[in-house]
Symmetry: C2
Subunit: 843 residues, 2 copies
């Protein structure tokens, strides 16, 4: 079935559709009940809370769809330039509350539900977290979508609908156990399956050269084809009709029968082959330790970019006049890291092979349309793909990559004649050993702009890994410091704080314009304001205590300092340093006199985060944390003075409970390793102090909140190399401070269990292999922790500094980030969808 | 989430639900448009005919759900006894028209749609046929569901939701090519996914014996577990609120994490293992030529019976008082063939191992609840499973099978002491060679009643394959001649004929009570009535001609005799005899003088049907038919006198076009091979004459319509063995008639292509291996064909005899069959769901 509107007269359909659903109490109730009856087909004898959540969600979805349809139609009619955000991950979190808040219907539904026998918040908890990402990169993409919608930018997110996303983390005997997360098992009312939006994706095969009117053309044929089908999740903006799409692709077998690949008589084998198509989008980051796993990962990347670029080109071609040169004025593509870098090649392929543009025109169009965001400065984290694999899976793409590289290296040669060092550093193809395609180089060459995600990170890009590129094209490089959306991270996660802002500022405008928080600077000297803030923090801590009791069976002391480190477990993020300090603190407490103990600030140190399934050192750190927690939490001598908790399965919805309750948040990566961090921004927005190194976005947070309102410690970036050198050249017994050696000894002696693995963790840094400088920074870290304690003994001072963090966090709204992207990279103008004639609350 | 009603007050929900959707034109239009907007999220710039079909279907689905919910609630409140029909296949056909007809909303929707720009019939054609069965057995199950709903019997169909059902048959160079049928690719508005109705299914593992209060109990543990999830298709009755469920199971990975089976560190392997769970219900009849294929098929069978029996037991346990002895008075299970025979063992397992009943009580309950329908008399078609496979996959079930067999053989021993012949014939376990479990024996022993599906078939059961069982338990055996539903096969497929009946009989009551057609006997002498009938047939032929032109690119002569043979391709069904006769006829025509030709009755011989992918002889017959068609249809000398067509991909919706257009229908299996046939019934209901052998239901059709209204030929059952003996002992050149030898020669000589395979088809019967007696019956077949021609030259006589077939077909309504099952096997009473206070057309 085609996509063209049928010539028949269907005007009556659109006439009948020209109204909106009501939002008075009865209308909402009827809408919920309608879904109980017709969508869920429920009768009263088999109705549960989960069904109630489902019915509610469908009712909210109806309202999302009204706005979504209006938006699509309006952008279409306005022939809007759109930004397409391509990302292998979107950690969007739960949808229900976010939708209600952004649609301004939370209160209305709350009342409508009470009457039907349900509390809205109970139903929020029935929603399963979508498992579509690993960490910060995916969450950033989600915050960006929220800002794009709220700021009325015509835009699309494109990603993959993984059936099995990031694993569910369980803790068994202190170890991380990975359990598949069947997040779709309970259905997903937030997506719209687009049965008719699907594209053919080819793998393998061969390239045939044909002559066509004197021009040689390439035709990619054979191999196997599968289909990518679209699933749209509407993303509503706050206080606007604009509602954009996160379009996720799922692989399907092709339903057309391909006679040429048919193997007579082997129907069941053919069937099996086809079933495998569904595996492609099945698992987030399939195991790439094997060749088959690598191939699957590359298939995922290609599926995403091919389906997305076909979709973008189709949309472009729907315009009244087909003018390819107008493409960059209608399409901006942002590559979130290099994972979707093949999009550059795929668009070239479509333009040259299918639309039959000449190479140079096509290349012009591509390089004006793409932009690339880098997320790492670790050279070993830069993505590369072996030429043999690309040749096998995407033979035509390899040809095009060589073409791009040829055109590019010609220019390099012009600029730096016979400079082999430059050529070899800049080349897209790495020639040493097995030839490899450097995806970062491809992305830079194919993009108009390249950006880092924090000031220090962008500077590092220019001076280290992308030095040669920066010298050649200095104007290509920009910085776009990350941000987080205040809708989810304040308005949804911390409703009490939001209500305080509303009350003091007189409106909820700050939710869209965080700079308004500046006006609160003077309120910090108002004791009532400070008390209100403290009260809110206490309530959030209570909610957290309750959740920890349920989740971890640990009772936290509500009066203790809630000290949180939540993020993926990684050596560079130094959760190890944190837990080693906890041991040090425990030993200190054990050694202290009863009199001394009275002065000790009680702490609850809470860790959370997942370790990659194959990352043994990271998984051992989790084991260490849990082993230490076991001993400390069961030591009656210690009582409430210290508790350690590992919160399993850190995800977006847990974060919404954890972050508002945090008082201290640790962001302690070795300087020069973390690109941004970004979660630090969520913590300060919720009025939390940061204990951190001058790394990633901490640097800018330090500037924004003022050094007096943040705990900074550790080796600074310019000293890192020297300190590593020193570490390698110093006897460990001299290099490590006594405080830390003592901790090592206790671990070695089995104080936290006679477990070889615990020793091995220590070994991972003990023998001149402390590459992340735990030993180097430990003493300074102790000192900073001391300052934390000192300040916490002055609750009002602590509260004031926390408030400064909150109200000076406006720079870290993703609205600011997106505005910068739109103006400085995408050249994109907002287009506000007209509000319906009858306003929501009058229907 | 549990299934129990929450104690909270939700009465307002049910109050708001206490109304029905309107059926005036505007209400229907609004309902359609509602789904365009909210279910499909469509805007006017991307709206197609398929979307219109989807919206319409969802609108009809809403109305089905109202009745469905009413029915479920009412049966629940009435504590109804229910019949559970277990079948591995349900060939239900398209749902839209059937639903509209049974809901009496076809006219209303037709008008509502016209106004919106659509013709209802166009949208019917957008629906994809569900691919949930192979042939007659599955279609029978579908007809039964329609009758169960229409006759208000509380009932459930239980089956499997195959992702890839029966293959799509394509014809390439005359050969059958099997293409996977992705019938779910376009969504399925007719099913309700029951996220919360799912059961754990275990495979493999071991049986542990535990002592519990002095009793030894068996606990089946370990192995792997998956989930079966329910999908309900509402099946509406005609002219009643009663709407029953076809509940289909789909396999899913278990979402609970099983620590015991967890293999540390191998997350991706564990994930892969889990993904395989989805394969279990993926393919209808997976290839069982390999051990892995066999295992998968047994897994399917067990999944169906385990999920269904768990569901049945759960429903039973919801009654106010738990009294296991009441089970047979609340539950009747019908096994459609032996495929679900493990249900007997599974219920025993649940009762003994889980509900802790003692063996004998459990066995009493089981044998009062089950009944078994046999569908074959060919001993080689009786299902058997190797003991080693069952032991591996279902270790506890094997123990129980041995227990059943022990109890049963004890009785045999009592009745026939030391009669080893009896014991060996009756035993559930076959001891020769690899031990096997005989599923038919298991089914008979575990059932209250056993039935065949036509008179002659049941008699054969009693005297051949089940002789010993019949002697032991004569009262266990019954006959239940199959039937077909007049709703789909007359009212939907042949609306003009239905309208004629309505008009002459003064109402549509005949649709529910086919015996009313008796009143039309006198109308056969009314020339106007006969003309009306002829006109209707002509219109149906026109529709068919149009469809054949589109599908097969062949132009049929509308005045030719439409001679149809549609059914699975099988040697015993003798499509080979038919095509050999076509060749004979072709040769006759070629040899005839122009004068003779004028008297020749023009014929269009149309074949349809699928061959099992591995059934080489059957596939070669398809090739022969197409080769012959190629020659004849392109022979200009022949012109319109003879056409041969192979209609690809015969399925339910094609049948609805083919059958009403048929004038002659062939059912020519060797006597004693076809259990019923059943499609013969659809043909006579549509006023078509049968050319057939005295086999299956032909015997009863012969009795019902009268020998003067049917063409019967061929060896009769009592002579079959002698004739086979004769065939084996006679020189082929004497055994085969000259007419047939001539045909062989033409094939051998390459008249229909120089293709070895065509000779091999002839070889399949040529050398004393004509086991289905094609040679023996050929002359009689020619004679019968002559009679057909003679009669067709008298159009009025032909029409009258056709009408007699139609109006004397009432016995073959599945309503009659179901009534007999209900009264004589299930002891089931109809329970009519109260009609809503406000009638449909007044809303």
């Amino acid at each position: 079935f085609g996509l063209q509107a049928s010539p028949r007269d269907t005007s009556k359909i659109w006439e009948l559709m020209d109204s909106y659903q009501g939002s008075d109490k009865l209308a909402l109730q009827q809408s919920i009940v309608h879904h109980v009856e017709y969508t869920l087909a429920r009768t009263r004898f088999d109705f549960s809370k989960f069904h109630s959540y489902q019915a509610l969600s469908h009712s909210v979805r109806d309202r999302l769809i009204e706005a979504f349809n209006d938006t699509n139609l309006h952008f279409h009619q306005m022939d809007a330039k759109r930004i397409y955000y391509l990302s292998l991950e979107f950690l969007i979190g739960r949808c229900l509350q976010n939708a209600l808040v952004n649609l301004d219907l939370e209160e209305d539904y709350r009342e409508a539900l009470l009457d039907l026998g349900y509390k809205l918040e109970e139903l929020y908890d029935e929603e399963v977290d979508p498992a579509l990402g690993n960490g910060g990169l995916g969450r950033l993409a989600a915050c960006f979508l929220d800002s794009l919608a709220t700021l009325n930018y015509p835009s699309f997110g494109y990603g993959i609908r993984y059936t099995y996303g990031i694993f569910k983390q369980l803790i068994k005997d202190g170890y991380q156990v990975e359990s598949p997360d069947f997040w779709l098992n309970h259905g997903n009312p937030w997506e719209i399956e687009r049965l008719d939006v699907q594209y053919q994706i080819r793998f393998y095969g061969f390239v045939k050269k044909v002559w066509d009117h004197g021009v040689e053309r390439s035709v990619w044929e054979g191999g196997e084809t599968i289909m990518a089908r679209a699933y749209d999740t509407p993303i509503p903006g706050y206080n606007t009709q604009n509602t954009i799409a996160l379009r996720l692709w799922k692989s399907h077998p092709a339903s057309e029968f391909d006679f040429s690949s048919f193997n007579t008589g082997d129907y069941f084998k053919a069937l099996e082959q086809r079933q495998k198509a569904e595996y492609i989008t099945s698992v987030l980051y399939p195991n790439d330790s094997t060749e088959a796993g690598k191939e699957l990962r590359l298939k995922q990347q290609y599926l995403l970019v091919s389906a997305s670029m076909q979709d973008i080109v189709r949309r472009f071609k729907r315009r009244k006049v087909l003018d390819w040169n107008a493409f960059p004025s209608k399409v901006a593509v942002q590559l979130n890291d290099t994972h979707p870098a093949l999009a550059i090649v795929e668009l070239l392929r479509i333009l040259i092979d299918i639309e039959q543009l000449d190479n140079m025109s096509a290349w012009q169009i591509v390089t004006k349309s793409f932009n690339y965001t880098n997320h790492t400065v670790l050279p070993e984290a830069l993505e590369k793909w072996g030429v043999p694999l690309i040749e096998k899976l995407l033979p035509r793409h390899l040809e095009i990559i060589y073409l791009i590289n040829f055109l590019f290296l010609e220019k390099v040669q012009q600029k730096y004649p016979n400079n082999w060092g430059k050529l070899s550093a800049l080349s897209i193809v790495e020639e040493e050993g097995t030839k490899k395609v450097r995806m970062a180089n491809l992305s830079i060459v194919g993009s108009k702009f390249v950006n880092g995600v924090a000031k220090i990170h962008t500077e590092l890009l220019k001076t280290t890994i992308f030095k040669e590129f920066f010298e050649m094209h200095p104007n290509k490089f920009q910085n776009k410091t990350n941000g987080v959306t205040p809708r989810r991270w304040v308005r949804c996660a911390n409703p009490a704080l939001a209500a305080l802002y509303d009350r003091v500022l007189g409106s909820d405008k700050w939710v869209q314009d965080m700079e308004l928080l500046k006006q609160l600077e003077s309120n910090v000297s108002d004791p009532q304001f400070v008390r209100d803030f403290q009260m809110i923090k206490m309530e959030n801590k209570e909610r957290f205590v309750h959740w920890i009791r349920k989740t971890c069976q640990v009772d936290l002391n509500i009066d203790s300092l809630f000290d949180i480190q939540v993020k993926r477990i990684h050596e560079y993020k130094r959760q190890l340093m944190n837990i080693l300090y906890v041991i040090y603190r425990y030993l200190m407490i054990k050694e202290s006199t009863p009199e001394e103990r009275k002065r000790i600030v009680p702490r609850s140190v809470c860790f959370g985060g997942k370790a990659a399934p194959g990352y043994i050192n990271a998984k051992r750190v989790i084991k260490l944390i849990n082993s230490v927690a076991d001993v400390i939490n069961n030591d009656h001598q210690i009582g409430d003075l210290l508790k350690v908790v590992f919160m399993p399965n850190y995800n977006v919805s847990n974060a919404q409970i954890i972050i508002p309750a945090a008082e201290l948040s640790q962001h302690i990566s070795t300087a020069g390793t973390e690109a941004s961090g970004t979660s630090n921004m969520k913590f300060i927005m919720n009025g939390c102090l940061i204990l951190g190194t001058l790394d990633g976005a901490n640097v800018e947070i330090d500037e924004a909140v003022g050094r007096e309102n943040i705990f900074i410690f550790g080796t600074q970036i310019e000293d890192v190399d020297n300190m590593k050198e020193k570490m390698r050249n110093t006897d460990p017994h001299e290099y490590f401070p006594q405080e830390l050696l003592k901790v090592f000894t206790e671990i070695d002696n089995g104080r936290f269990g006679h477990n070889e693995e615990l020793k091995w963790i220590v070994d991972s840094i003990r023998y001149k292999n402390d590459n992340y400088l735990v030993g180097q920074d430990f003493k300074d870290y102790i000192k900073a922790q001391q300052q934390v304690d000192d300040l916490y003994r002055q609750p009002n001072e602590w509260a004031k500094k926390s408030i400064y963090n909150a109200i000076r966090s406006y720079k870290f709204s993703s609205d600011r980030t997106i505005q910068e992207y739109a103006e400085e990279i995408w050249q994109l103008k907002p287009i506000k969808v007209p509000e319906p004639a009858v306003q929501k609350h009058e229907r």
